[in-house]
Structures are given as structure tokens and as C-alpha cells.
């Protein structure tokens, strides 16, 4: 049956496996925190933000003496925003890296399957960026988030569109992904409660750049406001093509366009002028955040998007470990439910589901210089 060459190949496989296993030694005197996010594939930019934030937090905490003298260590895990890889890295974090807590997963579709594995291993997970309500709606004790929920965010956006902008004809576009579509649906729900029905509801394909047909369609329904649920990579070309076709409707989007890359993606600051977005309280306005931001800038890195969320997540996890003096899921979860943590993003506390008690979504507006400010 088997020839010699097939034996050789089999041997190769085994050697690869053994090498990989051997490469993971374990040090007991550090506390390990897994940082999971996409580092390859189309969402890699967000994984980088996570990692930068978590790494800096780790450095700062260790510089301040660690947790009871124990140093913390962050472990990078790449899930490429694929459920398959998310499950794999989750198991790896549990089994090979033996982390004591996880800050992680960006895509909700990664966080959901991975959190099952963390729960099985009695490990607490806090996501800096998964905003889909389903993440915390599954009655799992050890799942927290550092960010708001799409429904909260959508409600803020809907209020703003209807009550402040007084828009009557609202077009809604999403990117057919769990974040974008979830946000768009949440916005529509709230808008309907306020008595306005959308005039257009369409999905676009992630990774494409040409939305001209969609834009012409927006034009044909004579919308006076356009809400987009999706990421800056699509929001940029969309708003540019909107303006190029002479449509002046207000453009409103969610927290995922909060990045200088949005301006690049739009092809220049003149196109993002006037764009509204929902986002958490600006860390720059908080006293706690300023020092940290300065540290990032000193390294030549602009802490944008989820960088500070990841930073705050590591802060919250270590705070819980510090206070309970353990890495036990139950103890940590109970503590987080009952106490608040002073993070780079301000004072944070969690409700029984693991969501932030206070959703601090507010509206921002971009200006012609490519900067945004709170309204």
C-alpha cells in the first residue's frame, strides 16, 4: 500500500507537529493574557490595533509593578476573522499557551464560537470590539465586552438622524457582515419606533470599491440621509462616490469608521467633510487617557480605532485579577459585575450580561481637515 516516499511524507508531517509542540514552553511566574484578533486577511488592520493597545497596556502595567509582583505577558493569536481559525486559536490559547484570560476577538462571528471554548476551560474573555448583541445574549458568565452594543449605538444614531437632522427619507446601506448589518438593523428598529421607515435598504459586498450603482440608487430615492453600517474600507469609497455624483444627503455611520484610514479610503479629507458617526466618549477628553495617548504618539503610532479599547480591556482584566487575587472565572466575573474599573476610556462597569452599564455612544462629526470632533 504505502511506498517509501509516502512514509517519508508522513514522517515530515509528524516532525512538523512535534516541532510546533516543542516550541511552546511555559513559564509559571507570569500571568498570560491572550490577545486574539485578525492579523491576516481582510480585517488585519483591526488586529494590529488590538495588539498595539494590549502590548502597550502590558508594558505600562509591568512598569507599574505588575499584579502582585507577577509580570503579565500578552500572547498574540491570529483568527483571520474566520470562525474556523477562531476555534483553533482559542484551543491553542487554552491548551498550549495556557493563558489566564483573553482579551479578544474582533469579529463577533469569531468571538461567539471561541467564547464557548473559553467557557469550557473556565477562562474569562473580554472583547474590545465585538459589538453584536448576540455575544453577551447567550447567558455566559465569563463573556464581557469593553465596547458598546450595536443596538445601543444604532439607537443613538437613529435618535440623531430623526430628532437632530430631522431627516424624512433615510436610506440604509450595510456590508452584509454581522457588525454592519446588525448595526443597520438596530438603527432601523429604533427609527421605526420613532415613526420613520427607511426608503432604501441594501447590502454591498466587502472588498469591492465600486458602489456607483448603489449611489445612483440612493439618488433615485431622493434620500436626505444615508446611514451606513460597515467598516471604513467601504465607507470611504461609498461617501466619495456619493459626493462625486452630487448627492448632498447627510452620511452617518458607526464606530468602525473611526480611523484616519477612513480619510485615506475616501481619497481625501474633502470627501469626509460633514460625515457623522457614533463612537464612545472621546478618550482625548478624558484626563486618564491623555498620558497613554502621549505614550503611543511618542512611539510614532496614532492610537486609533480599537487601540485604546484593547488597552482598557487589558486594564480591566488585570484589575479583576489584582482585586480577586486569582484568575478564576467565577471570582473574576463576580468582581467585574460588582465593581467598576478605572480605565484609559474612563470609569467602566458591567451589568449582569457582561455589557457595559453605561453606553457612552455620542455623535461625532468629521471636518474638512480629516479630523473629527464630538458634537
Amino acid at each position: 500500500m504505502m511506498k517509501r516516499s509516502s512514509w517519508k511524507s508522513l514522517l515530515l508531517t509528524i516532525v512538523i507537529g512535534v516541532l510546533a509542540m516543542a516550541g511552546t514552553a511555559n513559564a509559571a511566574d507570569t500571568i498570560k493574557i491572550g490577545v486574539a484578533g485578525p492579523h491576516t486577511g481582510g480585517y488585519a488592520a483591526f488586529g494590529e490595533q488590538f495588539w498595539r493597545g494590549a502590548e502597550q497596556a502590558c508594558k505600562d502595567i509591568n512598569a507599574a509593578g505588575g499584579i502582585d509582583g507577577k509580570m503579565i505577558e500578552v500572547v498574540k493569536a491570529d483568527d483571520a476573522c474566520e470562525p474556523k481559525q477562531a476555534v483553533s486559536v482559542a484551543n491553542r490559547l487554552m491548551d498550549v499557551d495556557n493563558v489566564q484570560a483573553v482579551a479578544g476577538h474582533y469579529c463577533s462571528s469569531s468571538t461567539i464560537p471561541a467564547s464557548e471554548i473559553y467557557a469550557d476551560a473556565d477562562i474569562l474573555v473580554m472583547t474590545p470590539g465585538s459589538t453584536n448583541p448576540k455575544v453577551t445574549e447567550r447567558q455566559m458568565k465569563g463573556v464581557f465586552r469593553m465596547c458598546g452594543r450595536d443596538d445601543q449605538q444604532g439607537a443613538v444614531a437613529a435618535n440623531f438622524i430623526i430628532n437632530t437632522l430631522k431627516a424624512k427619507r433615510v436610506a440604509v446601506i450595510h456590508d452584509k457582515d454581522s457588525y454592519g448589518q446588525g448595526l443597520a438593523d438596530a438603527m432601523i428598529d429604533k427609527m421605526k419606533a420613532l415613526g420613520v421607515t427607511e426608503v432604501l435598504y441594501e447590502g454591498l459586498t466587502r472588498g469591492e470599491k465600486d458602489f456607483n450603482s448603489l449611489v445612483t440608487k440612493v439618488k433615485s430615492v431622493k434620500a436626505d440621509a444615508l446611514f451606513f453600517g460597515g467598516l471604513h474600507t467601504e465607507a470611504g469609497p461609498l461617501v466619495r462616490q456619493l459626493r462625486e455624483q452630487g448627492i448632498t444627503a447627510a452620511f452617518i455611520s458607526g464606530d468602525a469608521i473611526n480611523s484616519a484610514d477612513f480619510v485615506t479610503a475616501a481619497g481625501g479629507p474633502q470627501y469626509v467633510d460633514g460625515v457623522y458617526m457614533t463612537f464612545g466618549q472621546d478618550p482625548l477628553t478624558l484626563k486618564t487617557g491623555r498620558d497613554v495617548i502621549e505614550k503611543f504618539r511618542a512611539d510614532g503610532y496614532e492610537p486609533e480605532g480599537y487601540t485604546l479599547y484593547a488597552y482598557a480591556t487589558v486594564q480591566a482584566l488585570t484589575a479583576a485579577m489584582d482585586a480577586t487575587n486569582s484568575t478564576n472565572l467565577d471570582k473574576m466575573a463576580d468582581w467585574l459585575h460588582g465593581n467598576s474599573v478605572n480605565t484609559v476610556l474612563g470609569e467602566k462597569s458591567w451589568d449582569s450580561k457582561g455589557d457595559l452599564k453605561v453606553s457612552d455612544f455620542v455623535m461625532y462629526q468629521w471636518d474638512a481637515k480629516g479630523k473629527f470632533r464630538q458634537l
Partner: protein
């Protein structure tokens, strides 16, 4: 139905279709000559987008501001460098596989596509990148409120794609290089016996195909203004679909396939649902192939018994 909206949607489809067509030409040429699907072609296009931004910034820093000069220099260098990419990829990943199974180069191409993507991601970062607006201006037909419009850069794209297609068709049909290409395509062994350096011809085709991707890359990047390391994948699959729709191996077919696909997508997403536009596009492809098994302009395959 609003005539302006319809007109605009047709125009949108035409522009998108021209872009597909430009990239599809590369697929179709490579397929024509060695019968392989070059999955790395979309990533060559992506590389050329990065080159556009890099070259523009270099040229501006040299103090050249005359728009035509900037444009031509960018185009020239981008095409030259991507041409080198095409040559090197063929040399490294495909040539050693010549004469083995038909599927081996296909897998090698998929591997190459991964390599190019992650190479760019590692060197340039995962972030979105962009280029400043170079060509401003728009042509509008109609009144203040109602109009059909096309920007200058979009006009340039449509013109360039047709010129590109026509020039290549001319080269293939009329020049000595073209004759050697066609000979190599029909019977590589015989062509080699007749003294044609088939390896060189195949390399040349890769270089030409890649430069066409660069032509598309430069113009499209200037049009949309932004890109990332992942753009090659989606547009690559679409362009390949266009090439097959038009009849793979046929240059005018690639253009026609691109425009049909672009129009179909544009009109469907404009008037029916943009959620299902890709379903519609692929459905159209299946339907065309069921009734015309060699695509719109492809030569029907004769079964030799």
C-alpha cells in the same frame, strides 16, 4: 422610470465593465497561451495599485507637477515593474511546472497569490492606503437636479480599456510576435520545432498581461482613490468570470464579457437588489455557458474523434 437614472446606471455598468475588461485581458491572454488560470493576476493588479501610490509620491517629491508627465511616468514605471513581477512569477512558479499535469500550475498560482498578498501586507501594513486626487472634473449632461455624469478619469478608463484591447488584438493578429503567440498557443511543440523560442513568447505574454493589470491598477486607483492588500481577490474573481463569459482566450471577448458583467451587476443592483447582484452575475454566467458552452465570443470546441 427616470431616464437620467437609467442612463447613469448604464454608464456605471460601462465603467465597471471596462475595469473588469482591462483585468480580464490578462487572464485571457495567459489562458490562451498556456491554458492555465493565473490566480495571481488579481494580486498583480493589487501590487500595481501600491506602485501607483509609491510612484506618485516619489514623482511629486522630485518636484514634477505637470499632470500629463506625472501620469505618464507613473504609468510607465508601474507597467514596467509589474511586467517584471509577471516575468519573475512565471519563471519561478510556473515554468518549472510546464509539461506536468494541468492542475499543478493552478495550485502554484493560488500559492503565489497568497505569497503576494501577505508580502504586501507585511511590507506595507494592513491599513488602507490612498492616493491624492489628480484628475478633477466631471462631464454632466442634463439640468441642475437631473443629470447623467461621468468623471474625466472614468472617461480615461473607458478609453484606455478599448485602446488596450484594440492594440493587443492588433499585436496578436498582425505582428510577428502575435503570429508566434498564436503558433505557440496552437501547438507548443511544433512551434518550438519551427524555431520559435516558446519560453520567451510565454514570458512575453505574462509581461504584457501583467502590464495590462498595471494599466488598470493605475487608472482604477486614481479613480477610487484607495486600496488595500486585499483588493486583488474580489476583482480578480470577477475579471476571471468576465473572461470566461466572453470566451476565454479571446481578447474582444474579455472586453465584451467585462462590459456585460459590469452592466448586469450595475443594472441589477440599481434596479433590483444589490444583495443578490453577485448571485445574478454568476447565474448569468452559468446560463450563458449552458447555452453557449464556449462563452460569448469563444470559438466552439470541436470534438475531434
Amino acid at each position: 422610470m427616470d431616464i437620467y437614472i437609467l442612463g447613469q446606471q448604464l454608464l456605471n455598468g460601462l465603467i465597471l465593465g471596462s475595469i473588469y475588461g482591462l483585468i480580464a485581458i490578462g487572464y485571457t491572454m495567459v489562458y490562451g497561451i498556456i491554458g492555465m488560470i493565473n490566480f495571481a493576476h488579481g494580486d498583480i493588479y493589487m501590487i500595481s495599485a501600491y506602485l501607483t501610490a509609491i510612484l506618485l509620491s516619489l514623482i511629486f517629491s522630485l518636484g514634477i507637477t505637470s499632470l500629463p508627465v506625472v501620469l505618464l511616468l507613473t504609468l510607465f514605471f508601474a507597467m514596467a515593474i509589474t511586467g517584471t513581477y509577471g516575468w519573475a512569477i512565471e519563471r519561478v512558479a510556473y515554468r518549472p511546472l510546464r509539461g506536468s499535469t494541468r492542475l499543478a500550475p493552478l495550485i502554484s498560482a493560488i500559492g503565489m497569490s497568497l505569497v503576494l498578498q501577505s508580502y504586501v501586507q507585511i511590507s506595507q501594513g494592513a491599513r488602507n492606503q490612498g492616493v491624492p486626487i489628480l484628475i478633477k472634473g466631471v462631464l454632466r449632461l442634463g439640468g441642475e437636479e437631473q443629470f447623467v455624469q461621468i468623471t474625466y478619469i472614468q472617461i480615461l478608463i473607458v478609453i484606455a480599456s478599448f485602446i488596450g484591447m484594440a492594440a493587443l488584438t492588433y499585436i496578436i493578429l498582425r505582428t510577428s510576435l502575435g503570429r508566434q503567440c498564436r503558433a505557440t498557443q496552437q501547438d507548443r511543440k511544433m512551434a518550438a520545432i519551427l524555431g520559435i523560442n516558446t519560453n520567451r513568447i510565454i514570458s512575453t505574454v505574462f509581461v504584457i498581461g501583467s502590464s495590462m493589470a498595471a494599466l488598470a491598477g493605475v487608472l482604477v486607483t486614481l479613480n477610487y482613490g484607495s486600496f488595500d492588500f486585499y483588493i486583488g481577490f474580489v476583482i480578480g474573481i470577477k475579471a476571471f468570470t468576465a473572461a470566461v463569459l466572453g470566451g476565454i482566450g479571446s481578447l474582444p471577448g474579455a472586453m465584451l464579457g467585462g462590459i456585460v458583467l459590469g452592466m448586469a451587476e450595475g443594472l441589477f443592483s440599481g434596479f433590483v437588489s444589490s444583495d443578490y447582484k453577485d448571485v445574478f452575475a454568476f447565474g448569468l454566467l452559468v446560463l450563458v455557458l449552458v447555452f453557449r458552452p464556449s462563452g460569448l465570443l469563444g470559438k466552439p470546441e470541436i470534438e475531434k474523434v
